[in-house]
């Protein structure tokens, strides 16, 4: 490994950075959109309400948000583990 530049580390920062830094917000966006799906029969959600009432949509949303929280929790866990060698 070249002592002047650690390419493996940098590459890992780019890839995991994209997955976590762009992927997780995208997952959040999917969850948000799913959450707002209106009930069957209604064309749009009333007013500014975040929750549209469609049970399938809410289920997907919960799954997305849970995944985001879990990923963040795991990431912090790794940091703490490696930061106290």
């Amino acid at each position: 490994m070249n002592g002047w530049i650690n390419l493996t580390a940098i590459w890992e920062i780019v890839v995991v950075g994209l997955l976590a830094g762009a992927g997780l917000p995208a997952l959040f966006a999917i969850g948000l959109r799913a959450l707002g799906t209106p009930r069957k029969g209604h064309r749009t959600t009333a007013g500014d309400a975040l929750i549209g009432g469609n049970p399938g949509g809410v289920a997907i949303a919960v799954g997305c948000f849970a995944a985001v929280v879990a990923a963040i929790g795991y990431g912090i866990y790794i940091i703490v583990l490696s930061g106290h060698k």
Partner: protein, 381 residues
């Protein structure tokens, strides 16, 4: 070179370190909270309070960066208290000058530059571990804003694609909630990376004084002291910088804000994992630029970005020169008196800068005012 233990000087150095930590706190609040304050996801005072608490927690989570700073950059055998002090003095002055002009510059580079400059002035360039400096500081520093911009551009693009059909008000409400989460993560991440720097420097000072052996790990009281100080500085706010990042660079909507902060948090946390001390400021700015690029039709003020880029490039060398000058004065006068002389000059300069800032005050009341080209908005008619 004398290695006589001098606890009075050590105390003064620790005080300077803590002062630097405080300036680091308020200089960097913007990185986590500027976008949330600008989109009104969080009120200004709530934002800085939240950021302060999370910085405090984050400071305890990882010691990787402190280790890099304490042992990886300069030959600990050649470091003296005067060197550490010179470095801190140079860094504090640079941090205050950039704060006055509302320029988000890197506190990390100010500190590292200052210490390197003072070290070279004291013992010549062989005292610096150039490989460590390049691989763990300079290269991450140069690459990280681009990586952050790439991640933020991608995230922003994906988000706007996914939420195309959503009504704007609902979309913004949802993302404001998301912003609170992502801004909190950045504050946590900032604690893991930035509080560590001062801890590393103080550890270096303790090693130089002979209080600790070479290669020692950071003591708990240092960790606690630095964590509390950076949290206090964060709470003080740095409104001038918050204004520049939140309003001066890109006009931000909440989805962009969340994408930017998520990108920053990811890049900072990953770098902490590798022990890289990077500039959280440069990462945050790169993310904000990226979220401007990722959204069609977003306005990016490139002249502001250009001014920041200039400040970034000159930070390390300028802080280095200031560190070297501080060292020469302290060493020239000699002994404890020398350190006290530089400390008094430092206090005088700091007071002057603070006094100057009162003429064009930025506060929670006007931090979100329309951007008209200068940091401080024009006085209300």
């Amino acid at each position: 070179m004398s290695h006589a233990s001098n606890d009075v000087v050590l105390a003064l150095v620790i005080i300077s370190g803590v002062s630097f930590d405080f300036t680091n706190g308020f200089h960097d609040t913007a990185n986590a909270m500027a976008t949330s304050i600008a989109t009104k996801a969080l009120g200004p005072r709530v934002a800085v309070a939240l950021s302060a608490c999370l910085n405090l927690v984050g400071a305890f989570l990882s010691l990787s960066v402190a280790a890099t700073i304490a042992n990886g950059l300069v030959e600990t055998g050649l470091v003296t208290l005067a060197v550490v002090f010179g470095g801190l003095a140079g860094a504090i002055v640079w941090n205050l000058i950039t704060w006055l002009f509302g320029i988000p510059s890197s506190s990390s580079h100010a500190l590292i530059g200052g210490v390197i400059g003072a070290m070279v002035a004291a013992a010549g360039s062989h005292a610096v571990k150039w490989q460590g400096l390049v691989s763990k500081v300079i290269i991450p520093a140069v690459l990280s804003p681009f990586i952050a911009a790439l991640v933020a551009t991608t995230g922003t693009f994906l988000i706007y694609l996914i939420v195309q059909s959503m009504r704007e008000a609902r979309r913004n409400r949802g993302f404001r909630i998301g912003q609170i989460g992502s801004a909190s993560l950045v504050s946590l991440a900032h604690g893991t990376n930035d509080a560590q720097k001062t801890m590393g420097i103080i550890t270096l000072a303790l090693i130089a004084n002979g209080t600790l052996g070479a290669g020692a790990t950071t003591p708990l009281w240092v960790i606690v002291m630095c964590a509390i100080t950076i949290a206090a500085g964060t709470y003080a706010g740095g409104w001038r910088v918050i204004r520049t990042l939140g309003k001066g660079l890109v006009e931000i909507e909440s989805p962009q804000g969340m994408a930017a902060e998520s990108a920053s948090a990811a890049v900072i946390l990953l770098s902490t994992h590798f022990g890289y001390s990077l500039s959280t400021t440069q990462v945050a700015t790169g993310s904000i630029l990226g979220c401007g690029l990722g959204k069609r039709g977003a306005q990016v003020r490139w002249n502001v970005a250009g001014r920041m880029a200039t400040a970034w490039v000159i930070t390390l060398p300028t802080a280095g020169v200031m560190g070297a000058i501080s060292y020469f004065v302290a060493n020239g006068v000699g002994g404890t008196i020398g350190i006290v002389v530089v400390l008094l000059i430092l206090i005088a300069i700091s007071s002057g800068i603070y006094w100057r800032s009162r003429a064009s005050k930025v506060s929670p009341a006007n931090v979100n005012a329309q951007w008209t080209g200068t940091v401080a908005p024009p006085e209300a008619a």
